[in-house]
Each structure stands twice: as C-alpha cells, then as structure tokens.
C-alpha cells in the first residue's frame, strides 16, 4: 500500500493505524518533506509527487493500493498557495499517470472535500453525491478538488479494472486538526458575516481514519467501496451555535467588508482566509450521507455536534465560556425561585 501526504497529522495517523490491519503487508509512506511524527513501521520514501519519480517509486514497490491524501487546503509549514495548488493538481496528475502505468494497482482512494459543491444561496439545502454545483468554485482549494476529481474520473475511465473511491469529507475537525476552519475557530473573536448564519457539518479525525481504512480494503459483504461518497457526521451546527459552544464572541461584519478584509489578510500573508472560506461561512453547506451509510457501510462514531465538542475540549477557554453564562442564568433562576413573584431582569444578560 502506498500512502501520499504522510507528513500531515492525518496521513501519519492513517499510516500508523493501517499497519495494524492483517490485510496490509507493507505500507510505503510518501511525502515531499519528512514527517515530524513517527510512522510506526512504515517505510518512508521522500518523493515529491509533482515529479515523475513517483512513477518509479510505485513501479519499484509494486503497491496494489494507493491512498492519495495529499489534497489539502493549506501548506505545510511555510509554503505558498501556488505550491499547494501544484501539489494538489499536478501531484494528482503525476500520481494518476504513475498508477495508470502500474499494472499492480488495484485500488485507488482519493481524499476530496465537500468543497466541490461550492456554497451559494441558490443551492439546494442538502447536497447529494449527484448534485451539481450551481456555481463552480472560482479558485482556491475548492477549485483544486474539482480539478482533482476530474482527473480521477478520467483515470477511472481509462483503468476500469481499478476500484476508485473518492471520499468527499466535510470539514475535518478534531483535537489535532490543522484545517483552515480549525484555525478560524481558534481566533479569540470570530468575525462573521452579518445577516447570515451558515449551517456547518463536521467530521471527526477518528472517523476520517476509519473510513479511509474501509475504503482501502476489500469491501465487506453487502457493501461497495468504489465510487464517490460524502463523509460527514450526523446533524448540523449553525455558526452561531459553534461560537456559543466555543465561548467565543462573534463580530458580525458586512459581507463586502469581510471580503475586503479577507483579501487584505491574504495579501499580508497572515492566514489563508480564502474566498471559498468566506463563502462557506456565509452560506454554509450540508451534504447527504445516505450513500456513506448504505453503500459504503460506514457509520461515523461522532456526530457533528460531538465532533465539535471534542474540538472544543482541545481548545482553550474563550472569552465567554458557556459554563459561566449557564452559571449566571442559573443564579438568576435561583434568585427568581427565592423571591418568587417578581420577574428577574432578563435583559441584564
């Protein structure tokens, strides 16, 4: 088995987990930079998937399963957006080219994202795998994923003997997640778009590793693990709910101001607060997970709310901890119970 993008937390966790499975003889971990974390007993090969050397790696190792995790939104360490795009798109092309040449490859798993659906007010409330985006993502990571999926579809056409599984993950969160959304939630005060309360869906890192494992093995009886699947925890959280559960106050800004501030921040290179990110935080996105349950046979352990709760535990307390607010309300309630009759000042909160 060959796994790309192992220098990331998620790739590292997956590599460590997959080695414990009896079906897996050998794991070859590939990335352009050596990982900071250990990879269990996996063989690390330092190779840049943007270069044709990946074909040699694949041919020499004779891997039968390729798990492509190097499709990411943010650069690892100091890397520019252009480099991320290169890795996402050119890297995928090179890797798929290598897979096409290698007769040993029987299975390909690609990490994608629900970003492919974009977010627009004219979209249906819930996306299924077959929904086409009303407005295709104009750039950034979302466009990368659309292009990556396009190449993967082309590969699946040319190599019908290879089982191809594309997993569209909702926003991945967890104690160690390093996604753009996680860094957004780490801000002390959350800037939001005035007048919009987007619906968000999360998937827990543990579930991500688990579903990748299911997809990279032979399908269990009664399930099918080739195709495209949305992967998300059950339920929905509104951004306002998230901020309250995190205990971080929000600053509603007008949409043009947010867009402008986002581009300013991007120009200064502080964070990658991409237009796609702003659109997600404006209109939100919810996907249907029926296929994941019925066809792939995977049931996530964490719901969206539980995923978020786990993420909150890993974060420091916010400026308005929910416990403190709840305590304040409880104190008023006890006061009201004592001096029964006159109304407590609701507005005081």
């Amino acid at each position: 088995m060959l796994v790309t993008g192992v220098a990331r937390q998620l790739g590292g966790r997956f590599v460590r987990r997959i080695q414990r499975d009896p079906e897996v003889d050998r794991v070859i971990a590939v990335d352009a930079v050596p990982p900071a974390h250990h990879l269990g007993g996996a063989d690390f090969i330092r190779a840049d998937i943007r270069l044709p050397t990946i074909a040699r790696v694949l041919a020499e190792t004779g891997a039968d399963t390729v798990v492509h995790l190097d499709v990411t939104g943010t650069a690892l360490g100091a890397g520019s957006r252009a480099m991320v795009k290169e890795t996402n798109v050119i890297g995928t092309m090179q890797l798929l080219g290598a897979c096409q040449k290698s007769p040993a490859v029987k299975r390909l798993v690609v990490k994608s994202s629900t970003n492919v659906y974009g977010s627009a007010p004219r979209d249906p409330a819930v996306f299924t795998e077959t929904t086409s985006a009303k407005s295709l993502p104009s750039g950034g990571f979302a466009k990368d994923t659309v292009e990556v999926e396009g190449y993967v579809r082309g590969f699946a056409r040319r190599r019908p003997d290879v089982a191809v599984c594309v997993l569209r993950f909702a926003n991945i969160l967890g104690p160690a997640a390093d996604t753009p959304l996680a860094s957004y939630f780490a801000l002390p005060v959350l800037p939001t778009v005035f007048g919009y309360d987007p619906r968000l869906q999360f998937v827990h890192e543990d579930d991500v590793v688990e579903v990748l494992r299911i997809a990279s093995h032979e399908p269990r009886r009664g399930t099918l693990n080739s195709g495209t699947f949305n992967i998300a925890g059950d339920g929905v959280l509104l951004l306002s709910q998230c901020s309250r559960r995190l205990g971080r106050p929000t600053v509603p800004l007008l949409l043009p101001a947010v867009t402008w501030a986002g581009s300013l921040v991007r120009t200064l290179g502080m964070t990658d607060f991409s237009p796609e990110q702003i659109r997600l935080l404006t209109h939100g996105r919810v996907v249907a997970t029926g296929q994941m349950r019925e066809t792939l046979g995977f049931t996530p352990r964490y719901t969206t709310a539980e995923t978020f709760a786990d993420f909150v535990r890993g974060q420091g307390p916010g400026l308005l901890p929910p416990e403190a607010l709840a305590g304040a309300v409880d104190r008023i309630a006890s006061l009201a119970a004592k001096g029964s009759g006159h109304l407590p000042p609701h507005g005081a909160n």
């Binding site: 778009v193 306002s240 309300v329």
Partner: protein, 361 residues
C-alpha cells in the same frame, strides 16, 4: 377591466367547468365590488363543488368564537397567577440558558424549532390574530401525519401570506404540525432574511429540497406562482398566474404525497401595487419594485400593510399515491394535475370573495 383576459382553464375536463366559467369571469372583473352586490352573490353561489359547501357550512362562522380562546393555549401561565408565573420564569430562563450556551438542535435545513415556537411565532402571532384577523377554514384537510404538499396562491407584494399560512398551520392544527415553506432564491440571497427564513424552517424552492422534506414526512408549503403572483398589479388581484412549470406536481407524485390546495383571501389588498418601478428594481436586483398609494411616498410609514381581513381555506387533499411510479415523468398527467389544483384554488378564491363582507371586516 379586461374581461377577455380570463385565466385559461382546460375546458375539456368534466369537473363541472361549464357552470363555473361565467361566474368566474365576473369574479375576475370586480372581485371587490362583487362581494357587496347581492345580485352577483345569488348568481355565483350555486356553483361550488360538492365537498366545499359542506366544509364552509361547518366552519365559516363557527370558527370565530373559537379564535379568542386559541391564543391562550400556548401561554398556560396567563391564568394560573403565582405558580404559573414562576413556571414561566423558570421555563424562560431554561430557554435563555440553552440559547446562550448554544445547546439546541437545528435540522439539516437549519430549522430551529425551539426558536420558531418560542420567539418567532410569538412575534408573528399578533399580526396574525390582531392585525389581519386570519380566519382559517378546512384545517382538518391537513393530515395529522405524513408528508403533504400545500399549494397556495401568492400575493401581497411581500410574502406575508406564506408566513400567515405558517402561523395558521402551527396554531390551528390539532397535531401541532409545522409547515416548511419553499421560498424563492432571493430570500436566501438577502442578509438577515435568509437567516430568519432558515430558522423558520423555510428552504429553497427546488425539487431536491422539497422531495427530501416530503420524504421525511414533513408538511411542505409551496406557492407556485412565485414572483408572478406576488408582484402582480392590483388590477389583477385574485387572478391566478401560471403555476410555474408544475414541478410541485411531479415532486408530490414522486413522493406519493397528497396535494392540498390552499386559497388565501385578503393578502392581495395589503399593499395595493399600482405601479412597478422597473428601473429601480433592476438596479436593486429585485424582480419588481412596488409603488403603492403609500409606498414609497410616505417613507417607512408607507410600508405598513393595510389591515385587511384574511381568510385561509385549506381545500380537500388531492391524492397522488394512486399513480404508477413513472407518472412523475408523464407531462400530460402533470399538466392535468397542475390545472386541477390551480382551478380548485381559483374556484375557492372566488367563493371566498363572494362570501367576504368587505375587505377590512
């Protein structure tokens, strides 16, 4: 008024169309004057279809004494004084606590049931009860459970009729059903409006969302006339516009959900749209920019709707589960069903208009 511009119904159906047509034409001409004219009243009354006579007889006046009692129900504390007040305070604080800590649930569409029940409905209820004094008829036509599609006429420049229909179902239906409205995409573009709409359980009017809601067994409300209906000039009031492309019928057919026609009288007159500032509308990106006798001349004051008296009548459900699965793909059947629904709504509209004493009382 242009008498010739009558809504083209399909005449080849046997559903008692012949008797109804002349009367309808009269109604289109002067719906308001007609309500005061005893001659016309006598002429139109024999037309109503078999079932609706029964319904009206039962509900029309019997509903009124009930109305003042209904609002008391959701506020149990009002009568019980001390203990009741305490309970209310405790409930209010528990609500506040859940709200402040984000400990509440919304569904996939962003519907916040708690917020809708506790806050948004209480804001809409005074408008519903005191301002428009909505009279609801035929609420028993809405099934107590399972998916159903309520199809209503659309009017009034601002979609207040949808909101009032939602309050009507929420407050009047014995099984506490919640109406999930399908709204135009403009609603979800506008800030604040989109947020409130989602929390009220509205979603975009598209086949995917409607089907998903019906499959979940929800009560879905749709106004197929869309902007054509809501933004029509005052002179064309109570003339149903084209019912979209009939997508709602194929959606209902696919889910086997009954279609409940709903006629809303009173919403047409809240903002008598005498003109349409098309250039301004295009500039703002709205489908129309209404000019009423008061708006925009009186500024924000002109945006206050006229206090008309409303009647919302839910008609007999039209079952769709008897059709074979491929029926949803049959355009002929779809057109026929669309026309049937449309005709039934138009029919009921005229009947209610004839019964109406005046626009405001």
């Amino acid at each position: 008024m242009a008498d010739a511009k009558v809504i083209p119904f399909d005449d080849d159906r046997s559903r008692g169309g012949a008797a109804a047509r002349p009367a309808r034409r009269r109604g289109v001409g002067r719906p308001r004057a007609g309500s005061d004219d005893p001659g016309e009243l006598g002429e139109v009354q024999p037309l109503p279809g078999r079932a609706r006579v029964r319904e009206d007889g039962r509900v029309s006046r019997a509903q009124e004494p009930e109305e003042p009692e209904k609002p008391q129900d959701p506020r149990p504390g009002a009568g019980g004084q001390g203990a009741g007040l305490e309970r209310r305070v405790a409930a209010g604080l528990a609500f506040l606590r859940r709200r402040l800590t984000g400990d509440y649930d919304v569904d996939d569409f962003g519907y916040d049931e708690e917020l809708t029940d506790q806050v948004l409905m209480s804001l809409l209820r005074p408008v519903y009860e005191k301002y428009f004094r909505v009279e609801v008829k035929g609420i028993e036509n809405i099934p107590a459970k399972g998916g159903a599609l309520i199809v209503a006429n659309h009017s009034g420049t601002l979609p207040l009729d949808g909101l009032m229909m939602q309050v009507a179902v929420h407050d009047q239906h014995p099984a506490d059903r919640h109406l999930r409205l399908l709204a135009a995409d403009l609603v979800f573009v506008l800030p604040v409006v989109n947020e409130l709409a989602r929390k009220l359980g509205h979603t975009l009017a598209c086949a995917e969302d409607a089907e998903r809601l019906l499959a979940q067994g929800e009560l879905v409300g749709v106004m197929p006339e869309g902007f054509k209906g809501i933004g029509k000039p005052f002179g064309e009031r109570y003339k149903l516009q084209r019912f979209g492309r009939g997508g709602f019928v194929s959606t209902a057919l696919r889910q086997g959900a009954p279609i409940i026609p709903c006629s809303i009288v009173g919403a047409e007159e809240i903002y008598p749209m005498i003109g349409n500032a098309k250039t301004l509308a295009r500039l703002l990106g709205f489908p129309y920019f209404p000019l009423t006798p008061t708006f925009p001349w009186l500024g924000p004051l002109g945006a206050v709707p006229l206090p008309t008296k409303w009647t919302i009548q839910f008609g007999e459900p039209i079952p769709t589960d008897g059709y074979p699965p491929e029926a949803a793909e049959d355009p002929m059947l779809m057109f026929n069903l669309t026309d049937q629904v449309r005709e039934q709504i138009q029919h009921t509209l005229y009947k209610l208009l004839v019964q109406r004493r005046s626009v405001f009382f």
